[in-house]
Structure formats: structure tokens, C-alpha cells
Symmetry: C2
Subunit: 328 residues, 2 copies
């Protein structure tokens, strides 16, 4: 028996999401929901943006990480936690571990963005670099688990993480009870699985869509074929969505998700520009994928007049890189 | 007698700011105030950010424009309004005029940023292009006034505009009564004059500072010498601060402002990056000038532990230009 392998039969229930809500409340923000007359008019719908870019650590990943870390028994927690992540999950796990007073070892590919590595360190995480292949990330994390006895917490293939991510949709539904549709980005499927479980358990008439870049359409194909299609292409601007599903997230998605909507790279950048320029908030490209999907359907009647909830997943962009270009 | 020349003796009073608060309330947002433990820790102070980037039309300029437009008598208003502006005042005036049901003619230098011109048009303003010198802007606006009988509303050399801008500081003081210091950017001085008038009338123990790019230090020199020093250099990334003071704004500043703090171009971009990356909101470079001033003093005891109010003036950045650079 290894601590590392995921038991696929362990699926979270709506009860787990409700427990997560209570467990993470002391640590996280109840993020605001923004509306915009201009964006409603452009999309011919009624948009409700749940701003997880304002969440502690800069993304919704704080929800799953805090739920997983604080769900551990004292015995499980005492040797700390381990994960591999080049992005938001690493920072979120480091922060959750610090708050529990335990160590976090984060395996990070050598080619990761400096600002994301800085974020992990800022929250007290111990960074372990590895060469940038998935096999290497896994092997390095397994070694850290073996050597330290730390508890491995996968960024999405983990029931407590999925339940934690589901709390964002639960808050959104409680705050905006007239929702007809909810759309979230899909990468590994943790957020989408948690969202779908929350929504279909609480209000099954609400349609649940995943939004995915066409360039990395493995979730679309996995759901269509009913079997896990791994992601091989990494060429999307939505860097947080370059991962494959797991059996666990796919199983939940097959049960609860209505459809995956695909969008072009251009439409993602266009949607991100609209969010930055009209809502005046900083979101990362992955966050713009659901709005891109709404925009693609603006001319049809599909979403006409509908109340659409969108989870803006995070705001961790390398702005220092961007700032060089502000002086026109 | 021309409608165009400013009567320097007409100075707003605190009563005018209070009237403005009531007058503009139906049209504008009571913007939120953001705080950040990280920024407090970096600056060794307690920062309160008043988010005018979320204001209608994307900047605080909506306050002065709405106050000036709705202060007009029906007779004054019937031929519409005129101004020259390459930026936020033009868009704000166009919006205020549309809401009053009158026309707005906005004289705009040919070399203005497309997104700002688009903003003016989006709000129904009539754009009149001119060659990009101040003399030409004035002459073109004077001609529009002569030809149409429109009422000229200067972007800062106007008592109703100054009183309107003062409402932001009044709201900030009401929401954060423990303020020790308030810092706002200074360009033409409309916001600084209105802020200083509001603060020193309501709570004179609060220190009022203007923050100005060293590259365009005309406000610093004007206040030091007690006489209007025109701005000739236009080379600052804080594009909204490239204007000279007027006698009217200088007179109020001499009476109420404690000091002008100067900051480098690098510190402005650094401060803007911090706001984008930590607060996760989009602000234009000019908005970052006060935080740059606090950061320059972080090592000294000047602001240590102080409650500092900062008005984040606007969020109108050309994000389409920026978005090209997000893919790293």
C-alpha cells in the first residue's frame, strides 16, 4: 500500500462539500460576485462573476488545499504534505500547511514561471525542482513522500480537494438563486467535478458546463468517448488547463456535467481583455475561458437572457512581464 | 465676457462638496475600499485603497463631470457641453451629458490612444479631432463653444468639477475614520484640490499629500515657489498627470495641501505591478503614484504604522495592447 496512489472508488458527496464549507470558512474569503451591464449587453445574457481571483493565495485552489489539509488527522498531518504543481495548487497548499503549522514540500518543474515559484516560497512552501515531465514530477514527489513520510495531496485527483473546490459553486448558488447555467474552466477537472456535484445535488435544473480551450480538448473527448483521453498538447495560453483528467474527476463529470464547450485561443484572449478592461480586475487567461464560451454563443439563442454563473478561477498573472508594455 | 475663461475667484467650499455628494449619488458608485496584509507589511503602514477604477466610466472623473453637468441650469445645459480631453474626463463628461439628455462635444488630440477615443464614443460623445498641442486643443474647443453655444467644462479648472472630485475623499474619510494621511496623484490638481478641501474642512489633523512623478514635477515646484510653474515635459508613464495646474487648483493647494511627494518612473511601474498582482485589480499607471510615494518612504519612520488613504484614480489601460504579452 502506498499513500500516493488514488483510490478511484473514493468519490466525494454533497455532504463532503457542506463539511468543507464549514471547515474552510475561518481561513478563506467569501469572494464577491461582480455584474456588468456592458458585458450583459455584449453577450445578451445576465452574467454573475464569482471572483476567485480575490481568494486567498489568488485562486480557488485555496479551497481544495485548505479542505484537504484540515481534513487530515493529526497523525496524518504530522510529517507535513507533499504535492507536485507548477502553479496555483502549490501556493495554496503551502499556505494551508503553514496555517496548520506543518511543512509543505512542493515539487516544481525547473521551467516554471518565477512569480509562481516565488508565491510558493512566500507562503513558506519548500520548493523541490525537477525536470519538466509529468513522469519526473511524479517520481520526485514519490521520493519526497518516501523520504519524509509526508502526506501526498494531488491538485485534483483527491476527494477532499474536489469537495473543497465545490464550495465556490455552492456560495455562488446561495448568493444568486436565479441561476440557469454555471460555466467553469476544465483542466484536471477538480473544479468542474466539485461544481457539478454541488449544483446537481442542490438544484438539478441548473445546467453545468465545462469550458475548455480547443487546443487541449481532452476533457471534451473524454466525456464524449466515456473514457479517459490523456492530454498531450500543451499549447494553450490558458496555462492552468494543460492537465489531463483523472478517473475520479471523469467519473463525477460523466454523472453530473451537461457538456464541455470548446473555445479558440483568440476568444480566450479577447474574453480576458473584456474582463480586465470592463470589470477592471486581474484574472489569468484560464479564468476567461467560460466567458469566451458565452461570447461564442452570443449570436445564437442558447444563452439569451439566461442567468449565467461564471467562476473566475484566479488572478496569478506575471504582471511584471506585462508592465513593461504599458507605456505606449 | 466669454463662457470659456475661468474666473479664478470662484473657489469651491466644503458646502459645494456636500451638495455634490447628494447631486451625484443617483448616478455613481460608492466605490469599495480594499486592504491588503501583504502591502501593509511591505510598506510598514496600514493602507486603505479607494477603488475609483471601479467607478462608472472607469475613473474618479465621473464625479466632477456629473456634478458639473447636473449643476447647470436648464438654460445653461440646453446647448450641450464642450471640453478638451484626451482621456478620462472626456469619457466621463460624455456619459454625464447622455444621462442629462444633452450633447457632449469632446475635442481630442489626433494622437490619442484609440481605446480612450472609443470610450468617449461608447458614451455617446461627439469626438472632434485637433492637432496635439494645448493651444490647438483650446482653440478648437473655443470654436465649438462659439458655433454651438455649448457650455465649456474644463477637466479641472472648474469649481463644480473640483467639488465633485472632493466627494471621493469625503466617502473615504466617512468609511475609514481612523485615517492619519491621505495621498492622491496630482496632474492638473482637480482631485488634489478637492481632496484637500474636503479633508482639511472635515478633519484637519489628517495630512494631505499630492504624489507626482519626478519627471513632471510642476506641482511640486508651483507649491514650493507659490506661483504657477507650467508643465513642459510630457515624458512620464503616468499619462493622466502630464497637465499643468491652474491658478484655481494652485490656490486651493496652497491653502490646504501639506506637501507634494515626488517619485521615480521605475517606482510607479513597480507600485502598479504590486497593485495588479496583490490586489488583483486593473489600475492605470497614474493610480500607482501614491503607493510609489509610500514605498519610497517604507524604510523611514515617516508613515510607520500610519493609516493611509489612497485614491486609486482609474483603471482605463489599453489592455488589448497588454494581452499580446501574456503568453510567456
Amino acid at each position: 500500500v502506498t499513500r500516493y496512489s488514488a483510490k478511484t472508488e473514493e468519490l466525494p458527496s454533497i455532504k463532503d462539500i457542506q463539511t468543507a464549507c464549514v471547515r474552510i470558512r475561518p481561513f478563506l474569503r467569501r469572494t464577491i460576485i461582480l455584474r456588468s451591464r456592458t458585458l450583459d449587453s455584449i453577450t445578451n445574457s445576465r452574467l454573475h462573476f464569482k471572483c476567485e481571483n480575490f481568494q486567498t493565495s489568488g485562486s480557488f485552489k485555496a479551497r481544495g488545499a485548505h479542505n484537504a489539509v484540515f481534513a487530515l488527522s493529526n497523525e496524518q498531518a504530522q510529517q507535513g504534505v507533499v504535492t507536485h504543481s507548477s502553479g496555483n495548487h502549490g501556493a495554496a497548499l503551502a499556505l494551508a500547511a503553514r496555517r496548520r503549522g506543518i511543512t509543505a514540500q512542493i515539487v516544481v518543474p525547473q521551467n516554471s514561471v518565477t512569480s509562481k515559484v516565488d508565491n510558493i516560497r512566500r507562503y513558506g512552501g519548500k520548493v523541490i525542482f525537477c525536470s519538466p515531465t509529468l513522469a519526473n514530477r511524479k517520481a520526485t514527489a514519490e521520493r519526497a513522500v518516501r523520504e519524509t513520510g509526508g502526506h501526498f495531496i494531488h491538485s485534483y485527483d483527491n476527494s477532499a480537494v474536489i469537495a473543497g473546490q465545490g464550495t465556490a459553486a455552492m456560495e455562488l448558488l446561495l448568493d444568486e438563486q436565479q441561476l440557469d447555467v454555471i460555466i467553469v474552466p476544465v483542466g484536471g477537472g477538480g473544479l468542474l467535478a466539485g461544481t457539478a456535484l454541488a449544483i446537481k445535488s442542490l438544484k438539478p435544473t441548473v445546467a453545468v458546463f465545462g469550458a475548455e480551450p480547443q487546443m487541449v480538448d481532452d476533457a471534451f473527448r473524454s466525456l464524449r468517448d466515456g473514457t479517459l483521453v490523456p492530454q498531450t498538447n500543451l499549447q494553450t495560453v490558458a496555462d492552468a488547463l494543460r492537465t489531463s483528467l483523472s478517473i475520479r474527476t471523469l467519473t463525477l463529470m460523466k454523472k453530473y456535467v451537461d457538456e464541455i464547450l470548446l473555445v479558440s485561443e483568440e476568444s480566450i484572449l479577447g474574453a480576458m481583455c473584456l474582463i480586465w478592461s470592463i470589470l477592471k480586475i486581474v484574472v489569468e487567461p484560464s479564468s476567461a475561458v467560460p466567458l469566451a464560451a458565452v461570447l461564442c454563443n452570443a449570436a445564437s439563442s442558447r444563452f439569451a437572457g439566461k442567468h449565467i454563473g461564471i467562476i473566475l478561477t484566479g488572478g496569478n498573472v506575471d504582471v511584471h512581464h506585462l508592465a513593461k508594455h504599458t507605456d505606449h
